[in-house]
């Protein structure tokens, strides 16, 4: 558990420090109201009680994203006995953006759980990225521009769910890789991600996040003995686009239930009191730089045209 505190301190110190430097003067004592996410953004409700551990979602992801050949076939369930670093269950990697794990729980026999990026409303990866490679799209996806990514790996530390993976395979262009909600090929066009569509048990429901929350509450209400009365991701870390229902306590199936409801960005907000920073400061800053650069050119061109060069003020 020490690790978590280190992470937070790192963020508070390092991140907030740099951000505050960039916009001093602007800092006020405003309240850190939480950004609720785009109103019509999409999400996925994952119902762990329905998963049978067939790994079809993993195969679908591999195909859709054109990922490299796996070490074992996707219908090979011996992967559930594998453990990753330090005896931890498998985590997504740069070659597999989603993985299914089996948890032998005390209360309900084996429970399977799919892991992938949760697509936070206020993503820690995005906030922490110094080159602004990340975007939270209005559809709900947290995507990144591999051309901008410099492989600094700050997002790996910032992510409360340990999702972004580092592609060691290319030393010339090392970049981060992770689930992008099938944004480019599907979500953008209103289609569900490949894993959702492929799942034979319909473990996952794709829809507007707001509708999914209603639907999840309805399931809990109609089946009080079946579900734990909690929707993981509704509030955690400021809310995530992917939401979870479980029949066993969430900590028994590998969920971190100690994260709290404040997004990573709040550590930054504490210092700045600016809301919501994700959507304003960073883009503003970077467009600012861009504008400064281009306006100067324009101004130069303008002089030739005898225009009043307004200068690069904003």
């Amino acid at each position: 558990m020490m690790k978590k505190i280190d992470r937070r301190n790192f963020l508070k110190g390092g991140l907030a420090g740099t951000a505050a430097l960039a916009v001093t003067g602007k800092a006020t004592s405003g309240k850190a109201a939480s950004f609720e996410g785009y109103p019509d953004s999409m999400g996925v409700l994952v119902d762990l009680t329905k998963c049978v551990g067939c790994r079809t979602c993993e195969a679908a992801c591999n195909k859709e994203q054109g990922l490299p050949e796996p070490a074992k076939p996707f219908n090979d369930t011996s992967v559930f006995d594998e453990t990753g670093h330090g005896g931890m269950p498998r985590q997504p990697t740069e070659k597999a953006y989603t993985v299914v794990n089996r948890y032998d729980t005390e209360s309900g026999g084996p429970v399977y759980r799919k892991i992938q990026c949760n697509h936070c409303n206020e993503p820690g990866c995005l906030t922490s990225c110094f080159v602004n490679a990340y975007t939270k799209t209005p559809e709900g996806a947290v995507i990144y521009d591999p051309k901008v990514c410099v492989g600094c790996r700050t997002c790996m530390i910032a992510c409360p769910f340990h999702i972004p993976a580092y592609s060691y395979s290319s030393t010339i262009n090392p970049i981060i890789k992770k689930c992008i909600f099938c944004y480019d090929t599907r979500l953008k066009f209103g289609r569900p991600p490949a894993c959702v569509e492929a799942c034979p048990q319909e473990v996952m429901v794709f829809g507007k996040r707001a509708d999914l929350l209603r639907l999840a509450r309805q399931r809990i209400k109609e089946n009080p003995n079946k579900y734990i009365d909690h929707i993981y991701g509704e509030k955690e870390m400021g809310g995530t686009s992917w939401l979870y229902l479980s029949g066993v306590p969430f900590e028994e199936v590998g969920f971190n239930t100690t994260l709290g409801n404040e997004p990573v960005i709040s550590y930054v907000k504490e210092f700045l009191g600016i809301v919501p920073m994700v959507l304003t400061i960073w883009p503003a800053l970077f467009t600012g730089f861009h504008l400064l650069a281009t306006r100067k050119e324009e101004a130069e061109a303008g002089k030739k045209d005898n225009n009043k060069g307004e200068g690069g003020r904003s």
């Binding site: 067939c54 070490a71 074992k72 090979d76 309900g108 289609r191 959702v196 799942c199 319909e202 429901v205």
Partner: protein, 171 residues
């Protein structure tokens, strides 16, 4: 989980009462070859007759749509007696395009729709078929009901498409 024992008891009881539905049985097909979705897996030969026998009640699978009261307690609250529906085929009510924007829009715009949380066809079939099979410990492997097609092997990187990394050391 005492559920499976209860279910077994109900199954036995239902068997005894099975004779009560001769009229309905006549209308029902004996075997159904299910091949609407086939892609990664081949068709499923579903012995309707056999399943009708072991469950005794049509409502186990068809909800209240055949005129019997629903078995599921959650449904009894509103669908007390059975009321025959226009259709009893799963595919007519459980959409194949559950998550298409067209269907999601339809769900949103129908003010009289109560059931906005109904699984698509693929989900409905597996939740029901696989669910019961798993409960009874019969035929719940992925290739017990349908064989994987060549395309399926490629998709799962299985059979002829298995990774060359020498993963055949298992079992």
């Amino acid at each position: 989980m005492g559920g499976s024992r209860k279910k077994l008891l109900a199954l036995g009881l239902a068997l005894l009462m099975g004779g009560a539905l001769p009229g309905l049985l006549k209308a029902a097909p004996d075997t159904i070859v299910m091949d609407k979705l086939g892609d990664l897996y081949g068709p499923v030969t579903f012995d309707h007759n056999f399943h009708m026998m072991i469950t005794g009640s049509c409502a186990t699978c068809h909800h209240h749509t055949l005129g019997e009261a629903p078995e599921d307690e959650r449904c009894l609250r509103c669908h007390t007696g059975g009321s025959p529906a226009e259709t009893v085929a799963c595919k007519d009510c459980h959409p194949q395009d559950r998550f298409s924007s067209a269907y999601l829009e339809k769900l949103e715009q129908d003010p009289y729709l109560y059931h906005t949380d109904r699984p698509g066809l693929l989900g409905a079939l597996h939740q029901q078929c696989l669910g019961c099979h798993q409960q009874f410990g019969v035929a719940y492997g992925c290739t017990d009901c349908h064989e994987r097609t060549e395309k399926g092997d490629a998709f799962y990187r299985s059979g002829d498409y298995a990774p060359q990394g020498g993963s055949d050391d298992k079992h």
